[in-house]
């Protein structure tokens, strides 16, 4: 049995909202093995994004533990968490989060500055990655000069610059039309087939086509597929 890349035990994330407590995550246990393509499914507000951000070390849980590569994120201070994200994580967001004043090439190369990579190597690597996502001829374009699908591909290229252990994508197709959404799914699947570990958060059932593993979330808890299907009959189509 392979060692797991990510292990989560009893993870809770509560938000205090005035007088009430919002239980965004209410006791999560899961494992992600290296080389898998995991899709986290769940209706809006079920805690998918919260889970993804906690796995990526962008926030801390209220209680519980997360180990990535055997290392507990609880034990890391803010600086170590930043270095952990720099070395081990690649993020893809629903809203792309490209820097509007920078070209596609500069956006892809941007994270490498913090790692102290020389500018010549940054440019070379960024060009390679843009070619990998099929955008070599758009390197000098700014985000506003690119379609949504192209912007998301730039963002995926950016997530790959540090050769991360885990790619975390939060509704990467959420802002895209069906066709470009499908292309992005295909791209993520290609990365998985090339050996990457991918975790995608989505409430789009088509995403599960590529999945090797599926996690279903309801109200901050992991549920079985059956439970999820019966519950989602009432909530999915709004």
């Amino acid at each position: 049995m392979t060692k797991s890349l990510v292990r989560v035990a009893g993870l809770k994330k509560y938000y205090q909202m005035g007088g009430t407590v919002v239980r965004a995550l209410d006791g999560i246990d899961l494992e992600i093995k290296p080389g898998t393509f995991t899709v986290v499914m769940g209706p809006s507000g079920s805690g998918k994004s919260t889970l993804l951000y906690l796995l990526g070390g962008l926030d801390r849980g209220t209680s519980g533990e997360i180990w990535v590569d055997g290392q507990s994120l609880n034990d890391m201070d803010e600086n170590s968490l930043a270095l952990f994200r720099r070395r081990s994580m690649g993020f893809v967001f629903q809203s792309f989060n490209l820097i509007p004043s920078m070209t596609a090439l500069q956006n892809v190369a941007f994270p490498m500055q913090f790692a102290g990579v020389t500018s010549a190597r940054r440019e070379m690597q960024a060009r390679n990655l843009l070619a990998q996502v099929g955008l070599e001829d758009r390197a000098e374009h700014r985000p506003t000069e690119l379609s949504g699908g192209q912007q998301q591909r730039v963002a995926i290229a950016r997530a790959l610059v540090n050769d991360p252990d885990l790619i975390l994508a939060d509704e990467p197709t959420g802002n895209l039309d069906t066709a470009s959404g499908a292309a992005i799914m295909q791209l993520l699947s290609d990365l998985h087939l090339a050996g990457k570990t991918v975790l995608v958060v989505s409430h789009d059932p088509r995403m599960t086509r590529f999945a090797t593993d599926k996690i279903f979330l309801l109200d901050g808890r992991v549920v079985s597929e059956e439970e999820y299907q019966s519950a989602s009959l009432g909530t999915m189509d709004l």
């Binding site: 994200r85 989060n97 004043s101 994270p111 540090n162």
Partner: protein
């Protein structure tokens, strides 16, 4: 993050918000320009005042006289100090030993004793009579004292004198009848003049002595004592004084009536004067007067600089505001930077750098404008002041506004620092944002 990458990122970020950066920097430009112009003006005024002041004598010279006390202090019964009331100052004569003592003070270049002629000071030239300060100095050449000649030389010797330029104006015709035009001042250079010295015996009978001397040099106007003085070798004046007093003078016992002390550096003058006073002699230097005036101009500089600094303070608030706005607008960008591995320190450095960059750019503009404006003021003011000087006499000023090199350097560092301080709070807020919150910010 590499320093050069950081710089490029900072200036890239400033560049993409040119308009706002420029508007914010204008405040800094105005403040810095104000500091540069006003402080330059204060410095210029001070230099002008000093130029005028140099007329009052060589500022590196100290005049030292002996202290004629009430004799040695008598120690009262019971020993110790005796105390009570001001003890009479201890007598300190300017003997040759004393001169050695003064020469030993660090910073002293030379010490030259001098004596007044105590047997009168009447001089005659043909039918004209005049009066002069007659001083004997122990140097071969007056050039050592910093004096210059307009005619002849400053060298002293037997039978010759070097005189100040105003002496000639002192001559009058004793037989002049009322209503008659006074004679024009004679050109005395290379002429024979008569010096009349006199003494009285116990019965009140006057003995006169006529000494014939040739004028071997006329000094340049120094607007000081030397203008009205006839200089002779010290031993000649000593001989005349001995004749007048009917006794021998021993400088090892009686001391000189005055000595001139030359200090290597203006900055040391007050210090050396202090030490001479501490040794018990009387020291006088125009520098203490100049110091007072300088203090006034330093205060003026501080006040003027303060006015500019207030303008900079207002600009600082502008920078803080711009940075706070910018950080709010770029919250998601900050979140992204953190997601891709920027540490809190990276984020802090970027935003502090941007704020400092605004301060630096504004400072650069301000220094440039301040310097140019100063040059313009100079051109106008010098023409105007020269006109004034023509009417009122005195030398025309050479500068109105003076910008020493340290001022623009200081102003640039200061404005950059102001930018950095203004950016401190916004940048700290950016650096400590929780990444998730920043990424979700709408």
């Amino acid at each position: 993050m590499k320093f050069f990458d950081l710089l490029r990122l900072i200036f890239g970020n400033l560049n993409r918000r040119k308009g706002r950066v420029a508007l914010t920097a204008i405040g800094v430009v105005i403040g810095t320009a104000a500091v540069v112009i006003l402080v330059s003006l204060a410095i210029g005024l001070q230099m002008n005042a000093n130029e005028q002041l140099y007329g009052i004598g060589d500022l590196t010279q100290i005049q030292v006289s002996p202290t004629y006390g009430e004799g040695p202090v008598v120690v009262g019964p019971g020993g110790g100090g005796g105390g009570g009331g001001g003890a009479p100052p201890q007598q300190k004569l300017l003997t040759n030993l004393a001169l050695e003592e003064i020469r030993a003070i660090p910073g002293v270049e030379w010490v030259v004793p001098r004596e007044f002629l105590m047997a009168g000071g009447m001089v005659k030239y043909q039918r004209l009579e005049g009066w002069a300060n007659i001083i004997g100095v122990d140097v071969d050449d007056l050039a050592l004292l910093g004096l210059e000649a307009t005619q002849g030389s400053t060298a002293l010797g037997r039978g010759v004198v070097v005189m100040g330029p105003m002496i000639a104006n002192n001559f009058y015709d004793p037989r002049q009848r009322p209503g008659q035009e006074p004679p024009p001042p004679p050109d005395l250079y290379d002429q024979q003049i008569q010096m009349i010295v006199s003494k009285w015996d116990a019965q009140g009978n006057e003995t006169r002595k006529n000494i014939s001397l040739r004028v071997s040099g006329v000094l340049k106007e120094a607007r000081g004592e030397s203008d009205w003085t006839i200089y002779m070798p010290l031993d000649q004046v000593k001989a005349l004084n001995e004749w007048a007093m009917n006794r021998r003078i021993n400088y090892n016992k009686d001391g000189y009536s005055m000595a001139v002390v030359k200090v290597a550096n203006v900055d040391q003058v007050l210090d050396v004067a202090d030490q001479i006073t501490q040794l018990g002699y009387q020291a006088y230097t125009p520098q203490s007067f100049v110091q007072g005036i300088n203090n006034f101009y330093v205060i003026l500089q501080v006040i003027f600089g303060g006015v500019g600094a207030i303008a900079l303070l207002v600009a600082a608030i502008g920078i803080a505001n711009t940075m706070a706005m910018s950080i709010l607008e770029r919250t998601r960008e900050i979140g992204l930077m953190k997601a891709v591995g920027a540490t809190n320190r990276d984020v802090l450095a970027i935003f502090l750098g941007e704020a400092s960059g605004i301060g630096f750019l504004g400072g650069l503009g301000g220094v440039l404008i301040g310097w140019l404006a100063g040059q313009a003021i100079n051109v106008i003011a010098i023409v105007y002041l020269a006109g004034q000087a023509n009417q009122q006499g005195g030398p025309p000023p050479s500068v109105a506004v003076y910008t020493p090199l340290w001022l623009p350097v200081f102003a640039l560092v200061f404005s950059t620092l102001i930018g950095m301080i203004s950016g401190l709070y916004p940048a700290l807020r950016a650096a400590t944002m929780i990444p998730v919150m920043a990424l979700k910010y709408e």
